[in-house]
Amino acid sequence: MIDRTQAPELHLIDRLEIASPEIAHLDNGIPVYMFNSGKLDIAKIDFLFDAGSRYQQHPLTARFANKMLSEGTQSYSAFQIAEHMDYYGAYLGKMAFKDTSVVSISLLNKHLEQVLPVLAEIINQPTFPEKELLNLAKRGKQAFIDDQQKVSELAAMHFNQQVFGKNHSYGKLIEANDFDHLNAEYLRDFHQQYYLPDTCKIVVSGKLPETLLPLLNQHFGTSKSTTTLNSSFGNFSLDSGSKKDFIPMPKSVQSAIRIGGISISKSHADYHKLFILNAILGGYFGSRLMKNIREDKGFTYGIYSALVSFQQSGMFFIITEVGSGVCHKAIDEIYGELKKLREEPVSLHEIDLVRKYLSGGILRSFDGPFQTSERFKNLLELNIDFKNYYANLINTLNTITPEQLLETAQNYLVEGTMFELVVGKKMES
């Protein structure tokens, strides 16, 4: 009979072999990073541009310039583009972030030749038709107004402004009437200024056919930049709001809580230590916040902490939605957990647990070409060297001590620097 009370012996897991991408350049200099593996004849191509919201002069320009790329080009209408992509079973993705904007396509390799010419028009020759913009803006406004009913969305939107300030490029809040002032001319200008071959980077992953690179060159390798990018563009002077803020939602049965502030980004030498500390605090299901506030007290369905990196800054925050009646108690517990990390060394047992968990997580996050290219892209956006970053992370993970974690908490999880936002029913106090 087996003894079920004894855990099976744990084994050393595979060492992560960090695959460096193969790098090529198109004729106009655009770098192409290639992760060539996998068994299925499929590929994903990502186009990254320094065309995030920090470069915009008017609210929503970056987002709608990105959204509108596929709403009409020199030769194709919005419908023709959609029809073409659907016909070839290709998934077109578009996202605008704070620093960058991305256009992605996922498709079966056998359709590359049909899909890439249309994709090239989307990226290089969009026309931003007024009629389509009006429709998108109106619908965008309705979705925005819907979101204003959700405590978590409201908290997410307002927290950045509270931390960075209302004129800061990472803090600026969107308002409903911004959707009424969208202007196709702004979008055309923005596209012309920021969707530049000079700042474009291409990341491809999947089982890549030989024909891919020549095809990319044919369709994306001839355009030249007409302007140069001012990469320091944006307003980064801090103008933070009050440390504690409250947005009333009187009918709400739960309150959204955000606590956090400005933090270091992935390019900082201490980042990996803070990354591990964050995991211990609220970065996984077995984290302290989850164990305390969900699994012991039952105050919430979920609570997490996160680190976010921008090119010019970084953020740390804790996020949860709790029953209206226990909001005060939950906030006290959150500060209590932060204090504990600043005052008591993390046990070797807990370090060992989180080390093993994160090692498995890293292995998992590199499983297959698409996962790997996703990790790569995140660092490319921040101009951080991929191999170094992961070699350092793995090294830090293997050597981190309780003392280092204590010091990291004392440096980066300081209560006095934290902002607090509650969205919900007025708390009894």
Binding site: M1, R4, I13, A143, K150, V253, E295, V322
Partner: protein
């Protein structure tokens, strides 16, 4: 194409293995053949609450999560109206930890009062977060009892009412566990860097000693045919009006399922689909609109739903949806449009096979449905559907006497 092998242990546990040496990981999926439809009408939300309790420790192992995290694994679970599914991915070297943990919680649970107390609270907060504290969050809570009069699909997995969860007792928990959580009522699928022989050996060690339980005989009421159109109007504190029209459709294993699924694709899959282009872009009546099938194992629903642009009336919105319904019922679907949908299905099938977790889930579900090979034959079934088949489905299903319409008004 997914290569796999399957076998059954003497205690009735079904096992499917698929080897993939390109990954350092293994996906381990265990599906229990119990969903919200198996609940007593006065104790709804139980299958889902129970899913939470499965993480509260088992007879020999006080904590489920910690040993798994130590092994570098990651796990989660979900419950729907048809089944409950637990899944994890774990580095291949530590797969025995997965078998140890999963077999122990199939053997017996710890049944801790503390765990029940806390998870009741957690599920109540989940109820609030997902259903009460979101605009339109009560949509399914309204729809289900409106559309289903006899079948237990009439309640959501979260339950009919918070009180059912509040009142759950330890006795209820034990009874539920013994009825549903045993080898005969479970399917294990393992996909990744592992051989069939290794999985067989792990199964023999960990699962084979578990005693065969009493087979569960599912006996749930059939939904009677709907003969009359139903209307329901509600007013809620939301910014915009919403309309929904639901129609009863066939079960998952019915041959008509594929044509019905494609009918929803023609109407609403992708930015070139009919509803998006006609109702959102041309007529500007909706901010978003959708037609989809519920995908349930038993007779399910074909659902239209849309949020209205401010100023548009419910009558205008419904008339436009009805016009699209009439169009597809009466005018043959062009070949190009049919091919487009088929290409999309092919692409979607291939992309969905990329992740090992997804493959493991598909193998488990198709086994539950009684045809594991479905994972490889379904694409072909879709490709065989003709334009006339799809049109036929529209004419069979999208008729007024089969329609339940919900008018969700924004409070003025």
């Amino acid at each position: 194409m997914i290569d796999y092998s399957q076998f059954m242990l003497e205690n009735g546990l079904q096992v499917i293995v698929s080897t993939d040496t390109a990954t350092p990981m293994v996906a381990f999926n265990i599906l229990y053949n119990v969903g919200a439809k198996d609940e007593h009408p006065d104790k709804t939300g139980f299958a889902h609450l129970f899913e939470h309790l499965m993480f509260g420790g088992s007879v020999n192992i006080p904590s489920y999560d910690e040993p798994l995290q130590k092994a570098g694994g990651e796990n989660n679970a979900f419950t729907n109206n048809d089944f409950t599914n637990y899944y994890m991915s774990i580095p291949r070297q530590n797969l025995d930890t997965a078998f140890w943990l999963e077999s122990d919680r199939m053997l017996d649970l710890a049944f801790s009062e503390k765990s029940l107390d806390v998870q009741r609270q957690v599920v109540i907060e989940e109820f609030k977060q997902r259903y009460l504290n979101q605009p339109y969050g009560d949509f399914w809570m309204l729809m289900r009892p409106f559309v289903y009069k006899a079948h237990p699909y009439q309640w959501s997995t979260i339950g009919k009412d918070i009180s059912h969860i509040e009142n759950a007792t330890m006795d209820d928990v034990r009874t539920f566990y013994h009825k549903f959580y045993h080898p005969k009522n479970a399917i294990v699928s393992v996909v990744g860097n592992i051989t069939e022989a290794e999985v067989r050996s792990l199964c023999n060690t960990w699962f084979a000693p578990i005693i065969k339980g009493e087979p569960y005989m599912r006996n749930i009421p059939k939904e009677p045919m709907q003969h009359e159109r139903r209307n329901l109007s509600v007013e809620r504190d939301v910014p915009f009006d919403m309309i929904c029209k639901a129609f009863h459709m066939c079960a998952r294993m019915d041959n008509d399922y594929y044509a019905t699924d494609m009918l929803s694709d023609i109407l609403s899959n992708g930015n070139s689909s009919r509803l998006y282009n006609t109702l959102v872009k041309e007529k500007k009546l909706f901010s978003e609109v959708d037609a989809h099938i519920s995908g349930d194992i038993e007779e399910g629903l074909f659902i239209f739903s849309g949020k209205l642009i401010k100023g548009i009336t419910m009558e205008q919105a419904e008339a436009a949806i009805d016009e699209e319904i009439e169009r597809i019922k009466n005018i043959p679907i062009p070949e190009h449009e049919l091919n487009k949908i088929k290409n999309k299905i092919e692409s979607n099938m291939i992309f969905s096979n990329e992740s090992i977790l997804n493959r493991a889930l598909k193998l488990a579900i198709s086994t539950l449905l009684g045809d594991t090979e479905m994972v490889n034959t379904e694409t072909e079934k879709y490709l065989q559907v003709t334009a006339a088949d799809i049109q036929q489905m529209a004419n069979n299903i999208l008729i007024d006497s089969n329609c339940s319409a919900l008018y969700y008004h924004a409070k003025k």
